[in-house]
């Protein structure tokens, strides 16, 4: 039962992480670029790619 609950937590996490979270990273990166923070934009673009991989790992573990 605990394992099923953990799977559920990871599935919910993967769904949220893969969509909303990566989108939010990209939106904030664009905002930072528009407001003149090129270093912040570069950092967030790199993080967004890693966030997508995190979502995939969570999905694989929960599968």
């Amino acid at each position: 039962m605990v394992y099923l609950a953990l799977e559920k937590i990871l599935n919910e996490f993967a769904e949220k992480e893969g969509k909303e979270h990566v989108d939010t990273y990209n939106k904030v990166a664009l905002t930072a670029k528009a407001e003149g923070y090129a270093d912040v934009e570069a950092m967030l673009c790199a993080y967004a790619e890693e966030e997508a991989k995190i979502a995939q790992t969570a999905k694989n573990v929960a599968a």
């Binding site: 039962m1 605990v2 394992y3 099923l4 609950a5 953990l6 559920k8 937590i9 990871l10 996490f13 992480e17 979270h21 939010t24 990273y25 939106k27 904030v28 905002t31 930072a32 407001e35 923070y37 270093d39 912040v40 950092m43 967030l44 993080y47 890693e50 966030e51 995190i54 790992t57 969570a58 694989n60 573990v61």
Partner: protein
């Protein structure tokens, strides 16, 4: 940066990363207890990536706004109440991680100790809320 959309965006991302870091860290511990060691290790590694993101974001906030501004933000979050258990978990995780990371940045020994102690308290609180979240998922699993 103060008052910009970038500030708001970075703060929101820091909160999300704090939550994800502890959610994955606690989940990894549970998987390990269930002898799912390989999965536990994979999840643990990703929890550390989330931690790295949170640290990087805080570095930018400190660079443009200063440590004192981050201390003010910490006090604001401490006074917030979540509308539900998930929001409460995110706020608690944020106070934990912000306290921990700021404790490494302040030079005053008393302040450093207070922030470290606060981080420990909020870590335990986050763990208790996670147990509640897990329990609610066990009940529907």
């Amino acid at each position: 940066m103060k008052g910009t959309q970038t500030e708001m965006g970075l703060k929101g991302l820091f909160m999300a990363n704090s939550e994800d870091h502890l959610l994955l860290s606690f989940t990894s511990e549970k998987l390990y207890q269930l002898n799912r060691k390989e999965e536990a290790q994979m999840v643990k590694e990703k929890s550390l990536v989330e931690l790295g993101h949170a640290k990087g974001i805080l570095e930018k906030l400190v660079k443009y706004m200063g440590v004192n501004s981050m201390k003010e933000w910490l006090n604001e979050i401490k006074n917030k109440k979540g509308d539900d258990v998930k929001e409460e978990f995110m706020l608690t995780c944020t106070v934990y991680l912000l306290s921990k990371l700021l404790s490494e940045k302040v030079s005053d020994i008393k302040e450093k100790e207070e922030l470290t102690k606060q981080a420990e308290i909020y870590y335990q609180k986050a763990k208790e809320i996670y147990e509640k979240l897990l329990e609610s998922n066990i009940n529907v699993a």
